[in-house]
C-alpha cells in the first residue's frame, strides 16, 4: 500500500513526496502556510511559503522569517509535487492549499468561509480526491445571516449610542474580524478608532497594498467629544481592562459566530452580540465539501466528531483528524466557547495572545489541556488512531 499524499504526524500535515509540511505546529524545514492566524502560522520553521497578502502580517507577527510569497493559482513544483494556493475567503491572504502528485489531488482548506466579505478574496471550491476541511461551526444550529444585515445592525446600534452620548466599543479579533467590521461601517456616523494591536495589523496590511477605511489609534489624548461619537475596535483581550474603562461611558458589542447561541451571548455579558464569523456555517461547510467532488474528508477544528459522522451518513469517507488547530490562536480563542473556571468558580475569559508573552501562553496551555495542547497520553492515542487510519495517517 502506498503512502498517502498527505498525512498527519506529530508536527503537522506532512507531504512525504514533496518533503514539506502544511501549517505545522512544530518547527520544520519547509512550511506552507494557509493563513497568518497563530494556530496555523507558527514561529521557528526554516522556510515559509504563503500568499502574497500575508507577507507583512507574517513578518509583523513572526519577525524576520525566510518567507516566499506567491499569488493564488500560481503553481510551484517541489520534487514532482505541484503546490498551488486558492482563495479561502477566511481573512485577507488566506488560502486553501492544493497538492497534486501523480494525478492525485488533495486540498487543505485551512480556515474558510463561503460568503464574500468584500475584503478577502472570495472562496473558490477546488476539485480534489481528498479534502482536509475545518469544521469550527459544524453543527446545523449555526446558520449565518447575510453580512449586510449584521452591518446594518451594527451601524444602527452605533447611531443609537451617538444619540445617547456613549462611545461605541466593538470587539473582534485583530486580524480578519477587525478589518471586516471596519469595512462594513457607515463612516458618516463618526470616526473609527482602533486598539494598538489592531492598528499595527492594519498598518501591516496597508503596507501590502490592502485598502482599508481610515482609522486612528485610540489613545487617552484623543478628543473626548469626538470619541463619544466614534467607534473603537478592540481585541477581546481588552475587555474589562483599565484601558477600556477609560473610555466610559460606552456600549460594548461582541462580534462572533458563537453569538448565535443565546447562552454564549449571555455569558459574554456584552451589551450587544453580533453573529459574525469568518468560518463557514453548517450549510457552507456541507456545500463546499460537495463542491470539491471529493470522496474522502478529514476534519479539523471544532465539532469534528459529529460532523464526520454526518458526512459518513451522507456517503462520504469522513474522518476526524487530530490536530492542534483551533484554540491557541487569537482568532480561534475569540471564537472559542471553551471556558476555564478558576478556584472561585468564575469563568476566566480567553486572552488575546498577541499581547501576552510566551510565558503566559504556557500557563494557558497547562490550564486547558483538552482544548489547546494535548497531554502526552492524548497525543499517544491520537497518533495510534492516526496510524490505524491508514499507513502513517
Amino acid at each position: 500500500m502506498s503512502r498517502p499524499l498527505l498525512e498527519f504526524n506529530e508536527k503537522g500535515i506532512f507531504c512525504s513526496a514533496g518533503n514539506f509540511y502544511i501549517d505545522p505546529w512544530r518547527p520544520v524545514k519547509y512550511a506552507v502556510i494557509t493563513h497568518a492566524h497563530s494556530d496555523h502560522a507558527k514561529w521557528g520553521h526554516q522556510k515559509y511559503l504563503a500568499h502574497k497578502l500575508s507577507h507583512e502580517v507574517l513578518k509583523y507577527r513572526l519577525g524576520n522569517i525566510d518567507l516566499e510569497i506567491i499569488d493564488y493559482n500560481e503553481p510551484i513544483h517541489i520534487n514532482g509535487v505541484t503546490i498551488s494556493l486558492h482563495p479561502a475567503g477566511h481573512i485577507i491572504g488566506s488560502a486553501q492549499i492544493r497538492v497534486e502528485y501523480k494525478g492525485e489531488v488533495w486540498v487543505v482548506s485551512g480556515d474558510y468561509k463561503v460568503e464574500d466579505d468584500g475584503i478577502s478574496t472570495p472562496f473558490e471550491p477546488v476539485k480534489c480526491h481528498s479534502f482536509i476541511s475545518e469544521c469550527t461551526f459544524g453543527m446545523p444550529v449555526y446558520k449565518w445571516r447575510p453580512q449586510q444585515e449584521i452591518f446594518d445592525g451594527i451601524n444602527n446600534w452605533w447611531r443609537l449610542n451617538v444619540e445617547e452620548g456613549k462611545t461605541t466599543v466593538i470587539v473582534g479579533y485583530s486580524l480578519g474580524k477587525a478589518q471586516r467590521i471596519l469595512q462594513g461601517l457607515d463612516l458618516s456616523i463618526g470616526n473609527v478608532y482602533t486598539h494598538g494591536v489592531i492598528e499595527n495589523t492594519n498598518e501591516a496590511l496597508r503596507r501590502d497594498g490592502v485598502k482599508l477605511n481610515p482609522t486612528q489609534r485610540a489613545t487617552f489624548e484623543s478628543n473626548k467629544d469626538e470619541m463619544r461619537k466614534g467607534l473603537i475596535i478592540c481585541p477581546p483581550s481588552s475587555v474589562g481592562t483599565p484601558w477600556m474603562r477609560k473610555f466610559y461611558p460606552y456600549s460594548f458589542g461582541y462580534c462572533s459566530g458563537w453569538m448565535a447561541l443565546r447562552g454564549a451571548k449571555r455569558r459574554r455579558a456584552a451589551d450587544r452580540g453580533f453573529v459574525l464569523s469568518d468560518h463557514a456555517d453548517w450549510g457552507g461547510l456541507v456545500q463546499s465539501i460537495k463542491a470539491t467532488g471529493c470522496e474522502t474528508v478529514y476534519l479539523t477544528h471544532g465539532y469534528t466528531a459529529s460532523f464526520s459522522r454526518y458526512l459518513c451518513d451522507i456517503g462520504y469517507d469522513a474522518h476526524e483528524a487530530h490536530t492542534l488547530y483551533g484554540g491557541d490562536e487569537i482568532s480561534e480563542l475569540d471564537e472559542n466557547p471553551v471556558k476555564l473556571v478558576n478556584e472561585y468558580g468564575e469563568i476566566i475569559e480567553p486572552v488575546d495572545d498577541a499581547e501576552k508573552n510566551s510565558a503566559d501562553k504556557e500557563i494557558i496551555i497547562l490550564e486547558k489541556p483538552s482544548k489547546i495542547g494535548l497531554t502526552d497520553s492524548e497525543k499517544a492515542i491520537a497518533l495510534k488512531k492516526a496510524k490505524r487510519m491508514g499507513g502513517a495517517l
Binding site: M139, P140, V141, K143, A260, L261, R262, G263, K265, R266, A269, D271, R272, G273, Y303, S306, R309, Y310, D313, P337, V338, K339, L340, V341, E343, Y344, G345, E346, I347, E367, K368, P369, S370, K371
Partner: protein, 537 residues
C-alpha cells in the same frame, strides 16, 4: 407576537436595570391591554397549561428539520435549550403573520380540543409562519418552560411608572390566583383596588440579617448602637419552617407560601383552625412540623413537602402546626399600617378564642430588658429549636418586600445563602468518579453569577442523586468541568465575607460549605447578589 419577541431580545441584550425598565415601558405602551396582561402573567410565572408534551414537540421538529435524529439530539446538547434548538434547526419560514401574544396564547389554550394529528398540523404551520426569535419565545410558551430574564420587580417598576401607582400597591394587586383571561389591565392600574379575588395574599415583609459574619458576632453594645433602646423592640425566636400566609375570607381558606405557591392542600391540619377564625383574617407565620409541643427539624417538613400524596404515615410522622407572628388583615380590613404592637394585640385575641391552640400557635414574645440578656439567650436558640431571633420594632408597619430598618434577623448559625448549582466537577480519592465539587451562583438581575465553590456537606445518598442529575443535565463540557442546567438549589453556609475585586460577584467567602439541599426551592427563590452584599455592611 413580534412585539413580544422583540421585547424578549431587547431584555436579553441589556444587563442594565434602567434600560430594562425603559424597554418594558416602551413595550407596554405599544401593545393592546390583553397583551399587557398576558405579558405580566408570563413574567410572574403564570404560564398557560402545557397542551403538547415536549417529546411530541421534539419529534415533530425533528421531522421538519430534515436532519438525522442523532444530530438533532447532538444540537440540543450543544444549545442546551429545546425551544432554542428547534428555533435554530427548523427551515426558514416563507410566510408570516401578525397574531398578537394573546391570540397565540388563546390558540395554545384551545389545543385541548384538538386530537394529536390536528395539533401536529397546527404546530407545523405555526412554526412555518414565524421568524427565529418569534419561534423561540413561542416554543418556550408552548412547552411551559417560559422563564424571562427580568425580575418581577422591574416589570412592576415599569407599570408603576406608567400608571402612577406605588410599586407596593401593584406588587399586592398582582399577587394571588388571577387568570390572565379574566384579569383586566384597566382595573389593575385604576386608583381604587377593584379586585374581587378573595384568595389574594399580601406581599411578604422580609427581614435583613443584622450581622456581618458569624465569627464576628455583633456584641450587645454594637446591637445597642444600631437598634437603640431595647424597650422599642420585640424579640421572637426565628423558626425553621416555611414562611406562610394563612387567609380566611367568606369561609374560604387559602395558604400561600413565600414562593407565591398556593399550598392550602398541603396542610390539611391547618384547615380547622382557619375555618374557625372570623371571616376577613390574614395571618403571617411559619408552617412547621410540630410534635409533643416541639418543632421538628426542617428536613422532616421538607420530606413531607416533597411528597405528592399525603399518606396516613406522613400525617402521623410530620404533623403540621402554624406559628403565627402577625395579623395583617382583620375583619376584612387591611391593617398593615397599624403598628406592630397593635397588630400583635389583635393576633393574641384571635388566638385566645381559638379552640385549636395546639395547631394555631403564637410565636412567643421573648422578654428581655437589655441587649445583653438577649445576646446570652440567643446562644441557647438551638435548645428552643430556633435559629436565632427576629427583632421587630414595636411601632413598625408591615412593609412590602425586603426593607431595612424595622425588622432584623439575628441568627446563630453560620451565615447562609440559597444558591443555584451551575458547574460540577469530579472529586478526588474515594469520590474520584462522582461529581462532588460544585460551583454555586446567585442572581444578579436575571443572570446567575458564580460566587463560591463548595465540596462537603451532602450525604452519600444526596451526592449520588446530584451526580445522577449532573450527568443528565450537562449543557457543556470543558476539561473536567461541566456546566449543568441551573435547577438545584442549595443552602450555602460560610464563616465570613469580604469585598473582592478579583471576583465577578464582588465578594469572596470564607469557608463556604453546603448546609443542605433545598429541594423545596425553585431557582427563582435563590438569593440575589444584593442579599449577599448586605452581609458586607
Amino acid at each position: 407576537m413580534k412585539a413580544f419577541a422583540n421585547l424578549f431580545s431587547a431584555l436579553d441584550e441589556t444587563n442594565k436595570t434602567n434600560e430594562k425598565v425603559r424597554v418594558l415601558k416602551e413595550y407596554f405602551v405599544t401593545v393592546p391591554d390583553e397583551d399587557k396582561i398576558q405579558t405580566l402573567a408570563l413574567f410572574t410565572g403564570r404560564k398557560p397549561k402545557r397542551q403538547i408534551n415536549s417529546t411530541l414537540v421534539k419529534s415533530w421538529a425533528m421531522e421538519l428539520s430534515n436532519i438525522p435524529a442523532w444530530l438533532f439530539e447532538e444540537s440540543y446538547h450543544v444549545v442546551g435549550d429545546l425551544g432554542e434548538t428547534i428555533a435554530l434547526l427548523l427551515p426558514q419560514s416563507e410566510e408570516t403573520q401578525n397574531k398578537s401574544l394573546s391570540e397565540w396564547i388563546a390558540e395554545i389554550n384551545s389545543l385541548i380540543f384538538l386530537n394529536e394529528q390536528e395539533k401536529k398540523a397546527w404546530l407545523i404551520s405555526s412554526w412555518l409562519s414565524m421568524e427565529q426569535q418569534e419561534r423561540f419565545v413561542f416554543n418556550k410558551i408552548l412547552t411551559g418552560s417560559f422563564r424571562v430574564g427580568v425580575s418581577q420587580s422591574l416589570v412592576i417598576k415599569a407599570l408603576a411608572d406608567l400608571s402612577g401607582l406605588e410599586t407596593s400597591v401593584l406588587t399586592h394587586r398582582i399577587m394571588g390566583n388571577w387568570d390572565p383571561k379574566s384579569f383586566n389591565y384597566q382595573s389593575l392600574v385604576q386608583k381604587e383596588d377593584g379586585s374581587e379575588d378573595i384568595s389574594r395574599p399580601y406581599p411578604f415583609y422580609l427581614a435583613y440579617p443584622i450581622q456581618d459574619t458569624s465569627d464576628q458576632q455583633k456584641s450587645s453594645e454594637q446591637i445597642k448602637e444600631s437598634l437603640g433602646d431595647p424597650l422599642n423592640w420585640q424579640a421572637e425566636w426565628k423558626w425553621d419552617g416555611i414562611r406562610a400566609q394563612a387567609i380566611q375570607r367568606n369561609g374560604q381558606i387559602f395558604i400561600w407560601s413565600r414562593g407565591e405557591d398556593l399550598a392550602t392542600d398541603k396542610f390539611p391540619e391547618l384547615h380547622p383552625f382557619l375555618l374557625e377564625l372570623p371571616a376577613g383574617t390574614v395571618l403571617d407565620g411559619e408552617a412547621i412540623c410540630f410534635a409533643d409541643n416541639c418543632p421538628l427539624p426542617f428536613n422532616i417538613l421538607q420530606t413531607r413537602i416533597g411528597r405528592k400524596n399525603l399518606t396516613k404515615k406522613i400525617l402521623t410522622d410530620s404533623p403540621m402546626a402554624f406559628i403565627a407572628y402577625d395579623c395583617i388583615e382583620h375583619e376584612g380590613n387591611d391593617i398593615r399600617d397599624l403598628p406592630l404592637s397593635r397588630r400583635r394585640a389583635i393576633l393574641e385575641k384571635l388566638h385566645q378564642s381559638s379552640s385549636f391552640k395546639d395547631v394555631f400557635r403564637l410565636s412567643p414574645v421573648v422578654s428581655f430588658s437589655s441587649w445583653d440578656d438577649l445576646y446570652k439567650l440567643r446562644l441557647r436558640s438551638r435548645d428552643e429549636f430556633a435559629e436565632g431571633f427576629m427583632l421587630k420594632k414595636l411601632d413598625s408597619p408591615y412593609l412590602v418586600g425586603r426593607k431595612r430598618g424595622a425588622w432584623w434577623k439575628w441568627k446563630v448559625d453560620p451565615l447562609s445563602i440559597d444558591a443555584v448549582m451551575i458547574y460540577a466537577q469530579k472529586g478526588h480519592g474515594r469520590r474520584a468518579d462522582l461529581y462532588t465539587d460544585y460551583t454555586f451562583a446567585i442572581w444578579d438581575q436575571d443572570k446567575l453569577v458564580p460566587f463560591a465553590k463548595a465540596y462537603s456537606g451532602l450525604t452519600d445518598k444526596e451526592i449520588n442523586q446530584v451526580n445522577f442529575f449532573v450527568k443528565r443535565n450537562t449543557l457543556e463540557k470543558f476539561g473536567p468541568v461541566r456546566t449543568v442546567k441551573p435547577q438545584l438549589v442549595f443552602e450555602i453556609g460560610f464563616e465570613g465575607i469580604n469585598k473582592s475585586t478579583r471576583h465577578k460577584s464582588g465578594v469572596a467567602l470564607r469557608f463556604p460549605r453546603i448546609l443542605r439541599w433545598r429541594q423545596d426551592k425553585k431557582i427563582e427563590e435563590a438569593d440575589t447578589i444584593e442579599t449577599l452584599k448586605e452581609f458586607l455592611k
